[in-house]
């Protein structure tokens, strides 16, 4: 058994230590907001926060997450930047199919936590690992700027 701290709760799961965190979150814990896209840290759909840092949960063994604070899309709205992202995403209707958006929001929230007023270049750098096939990039960029605008300098 592995003990995890997920969204503020302690959870015990039965999984091999090399199991990617993604599948523990989705199948063992039943939180399906975090998505599987590529299994190889190429698309960003599975992004979660480990101690506030964005990581690709499809390529992070669950053993590496033990003892660290795991935050998923289900709870990121409880943080100030996460809440601002969700509001901006909703106001601008960013999602189309929506499948990648959990990962996009997690990457954006981590960016804003680190850099409250990101430039376009900062956004490019922080978001380059998150693919969207529907082409929502312009709205994602606008939503990040909007969320930043509400955060104070």
């Amino acid at each position: 058994m592995i003990t995890l701290l997920v969204n503020g709760e302690t959870r015990r799961v039965d999984a091999e230590p090399e199991t990617p965190l993604l599948w523990v979150i989705r199948d063992s814990l039943g939180m399906c907001g975090t998505k599987f896209g590529c299994g190889a840290a190429l698309c960003g759909a599975c992004t979660v926060h480990l101690d506030g840092e964005p990581v690709r949960s499809c390529s992070t063994p669950v053993s590496a997450a033990a003892g660290r604070k795991i935050t998923t899309i289900e709870a990121v709205g409880a943080t100030p930047v996460g809440r601002r992202c969700r509001e901006a995403w909703a106001e601008l209707d960013v999602p189309q199919c929506g499948y990648c958006q959990a990962g996009q929001i997690m990457s954006a929230a981590a960016l804003l936590a680190r850099k409250p007023q990101p430039t376009d270049a900062d956004i490019d750098e922080a978001m380059a690992g998150n693919i969207c096939r529907c082409g929502t990039y312009p709205r994602i960029r606008a939503a990040i700027h909007r969320a930043a605008g509400r955060g104070g300098a």
Partner: protein, 709 residues
């Protein structure tokens, strides 16, 4: 080499007949409008589209799959407008399989072809108005007044003496009334929602992680499956050694199905790990020798065959012989994968007398049909539940993975199983966008005016596989889209050759528009250059009979600053097309450095007719262009030894945020009937960018993806 199940799907579909360019499937459908069977005393359905609870909740049935294109909002908007309810408060349910939910333009319960709004525009407004009329009639009856003295507003009927009755209190009585035959629809100026940029109804769930996609389906007792498929599409398992796989943690079953060998476990990761430990011997089948070089040579050889004519006017050959100047060019497009963000998956629960299939599909009827076929159950014993789709783009019209999930559930003795493909499975077992080979010839008169245009397309046909009766006399109507240009060129001949390359093909966003517009609009540019004319003016002079197209061409050119100087190293290209009833022009502004193309800006002008939701129209326009740009700059599926060589996003790159251009949209205010907007942008960005690369470098790139030397 055909995918498993196709002969019987053909059997299933062969009663179909083309009607008005659409498809009619001769299918007996279970007659289950809405969820009537599940209705409780507290819910009533005035018709198949509206469900009203005694607690005043209003649920609108959406009969198309939500794959990003916004039908989950746009279609209920049409109903809500006439029903007189608060759009922001309606609930939406995706329809079950039912005859009433068939897409009349496609003849099946299919989401595709940018038809959803076009097909639903009148039908759903009428449904809303009928339900409202019945609610008003029920109130009038209750109060003993004339219905014409009552009015409905925001879910409440108001009577002449100040009476009020909520829809919830009237729904049961209303549902017993006959549906009115004639209802009057609102004038456009009186609409509260139609034509307004309303927010999407699915955004909230897609932002907080609660939206259910196929991959998120969870049923009590559900197991998880991973499937080993032959690396050569169409190959079959001969035998396998599962000793190691069976010893791995959580593994419950290892079963052979027609498409491969499945491992079923108590979590997907465990199933996948054990799948990777299987040793399978394959009969690779006829596809084992396929390779990209041979396919390209085969297409060119097939092009020597005479084509089936789709347009003939004047005498092209004579015009070419006698013209002042002639030119010829060939264009080639590669196979492409759909690469939806959500890899293919489906959940099936086979029981002795029922089968549930649950997941993301664009074609509920076909999902039900394959489930019935695999299980031997009657169609009415099959239930289809549709989730949100993590992208469709045409891939989810095919149901290979549905059949596989049903096969697996059946093989383990029944019960719920979720089959999920890896990205690698998805990339290497797609139904690919057809490769194509286009030969064009043109002639100019002494003044540089085009007098002749000849177009010869050779490509595989998707429709020949999915809807064979629709292909008639060598013409697949979904291969010849944009196959005739709108320009006033007196002598024209366009014809097509269907050539099966051996690799299975599928519909891919914008379907053949992308193939044909790339060839045509590149060649129009070449003719303009040969004529020594400006590419915009050259086209514009040929559009006097096409006012909608002329208008968008002029609008795009004006907004893009056509003709104005650009920084060194940058150039502009223009392209024009009508697709799905939408007139569209795009101007691309690019920069080329070495072998790399940077697209800075796309200016698009479109006339999509009347808009139901301009917010979603803009999403679709922008997104369709970005989707298309991935194909233009990077997309290519190649084969070696029968295997698709691309496996994941490292070798099948797609556009990412830093490379995504600004898309400037200019939408013509139109009172024309609604047209499709989800696809034409995908097609037209190709020639716009290719023409811009020529303007920048002088290199005419005639194949995709664009690779400057």
């Amino acid at each position: 080499m055909e995918p498993r199940g196709v002969p019987s799907r053909r059997e299933f579909l062969k009663t179909g007949a083309a009607l008005g360019g659409g498809l009619v499937l001769g299918v007996a459908l279970p007659d289950r409008p809405g969820h009537a069977a599940a209705a409780t005393a507290t819910t009533a359905m005035p018709n198949a589209w509206v469900k009203i609870g005694s607690d005043d909740t209003v649920t609108i049935i959406c009969a198309r799959s939500e794959m990003g294109q916004g039908v989950y909002t746009a279609l209920p908007t049409l109903v809500a407008e006439e029903l007189e309810v608060d759009l922001a408060r309606v609930r939406v349910e995706i329809a079950p399989v039912g005859a009433v939910y068939i897409n009349a333009l496609l003849g099946g319960q299919i989401t595709g072809g940018s038809t959803s709004v076009v097909e639903g525009y009148d039908k759903l407004r009428i449904a809303g108005a009928q339900a409202r009329t019945m609610l008003v009639a029920a109130a009038a009856e209750r109060w003993g007044v004339d219905a014409s003295a009552c009015r409905a507003q925001q879910g409440v009927v108001h009577g002449p003496a100040g009476q009020k009755a909520s829809y919830g209190s009237l729904a049961d009585a209303a549902s017993r009334l006959p549906a009115p035959k004639d209802v009057k629809l609102k004038e456009h100026k009186d609409c509260r929602y139609i034509g307004k940029p309303m927010n999407r109804l699915d955004s909230a769930a897609k932002i907080d992680g609660s939206a259910e996609y196929g991959i998120d389906v969870r049923l009590p007792g559900m197991l998880y499956a991973a499937l080993a498929q032959c690396p050569v599409i169409g190959g079959k398992p001969v035998n396998f050694d599962a000793a190691r796989a069976k010893s791995m943690p959580g593994v419950k079953h290892v079963v052979q199905i027609p498409d491969g060998v499945a491992v079923v476990a108590d979590s997907w990761w465990r199933a996948k790990a054990a799948r990777d430990a299987l040793v399978v011997t394959w009969d690779e089948g006829a596809g084992r020798t396929l390779d990209s070089g041979g396919i390209a040579r085969g297409l060119k050889a097939a092009a020597a065959r005479p084509g089936a004519v789709i347009r003939k006017q004047g005498d092209v050959d004579e015009a070419l012989r006698s013209a002042a100047k002639t030119l010829q060019a060939e264009y080639e497009l590669p196979f492409l994968a759909h690469a939806t963000m959500e890899p293919m998956n489906f959940t099936a629960d086979v029981r002795s007398d029922s089968c549930l299939v649950y997941g993301a599909t664009q074609f509920q009827q076909l999902a039900a049909a394959v489930a019935a076929q695999v299980t031997g159950l009657k169609p009415e014993q099959v239930t289809v539940r549709t989730t949100f789709l993590g992208g469709g783009f045409g891939r989810r019209i095919d149901v290979d993975y549905v059949a596989q999930a049903v096969e697996i559930s059946k093989a383990i003795g029944g019960g719920p199983v979720k089959l999920l493909w890896t990205r690698e499975d998805d990339m290497t077992h797609d139904f690919y966008r057809p490769a194509s080979y286009h030969q064009l010839s043109g002639a100019l008169d002494a003044e540089g005016r085009p007098v002749a245009l000849k177009f010869h397309l050779t490509s595989p046909s998707v429709t020949s596989r999915l809807f064979p009766p629709v292909v008639k006399e060598g013409i697949d109507p979904f291969m010849t889209e944009a196959g005739a240009v709108p320009y006033a060129i007196p002598h024209q001949l366009a014809d097509v050759v269907i050539h099966d390359t051996g690799l299975r093909v599928g519909y891919w966003r914008s379907v053949s528009h992308a193939l044909n517009s790339f060839a045509y609009e590149s060649f129009m540019d070449e003719m303009a250059v040969a004529a020594g004319k400006d590419p915009f003016e050259f086209r514009r002079a040929l559009l006097d009979a096409q006012p909608r197209l002329k208008r968008v061409l002029e609008l795009a050119a004006e907004k893009a600053g056509w003709g104005r100087p650009l920084p060194a190293g940058r150039g502009r290209g223009i392209a024009l097309m009508e697709g799905y009833g939408t007139a569209m022009a795009q101007v691309a502004e690019v920069e080329v450095s070495g072998r790399s193309i940077r697209v800075h800006r796309i200016v698009v002008a479109a006339d999509p007719g009347r808009m139901v939701n301009p917010n979603i129209v803009r999403q679709q326009l922008e997104g369709s262009i970005i989707y298309g740009l991935s194909a233009v700059l990077y997309g290519e599926v190649t084969l070696k030894d029968g295997r698709v060589e691309q496996t994941n996003f490292h070798d099948y790159p797609v556009l990412r945020m830093p490379d995504s251009p600004a898309v400037e949209m200019h939408i013509v205010d139109s009172t024309e009937k609604p047209a499709g907007i989800g696809e034409p942008g995908t097609a037209l960005v190709g020639p716009a960018v290719a023409n811009a690369v020529f303007a920048t470098t002088g290199q005419r790139l005639r194949s995709l993806p664009l690779r400057p030397a």
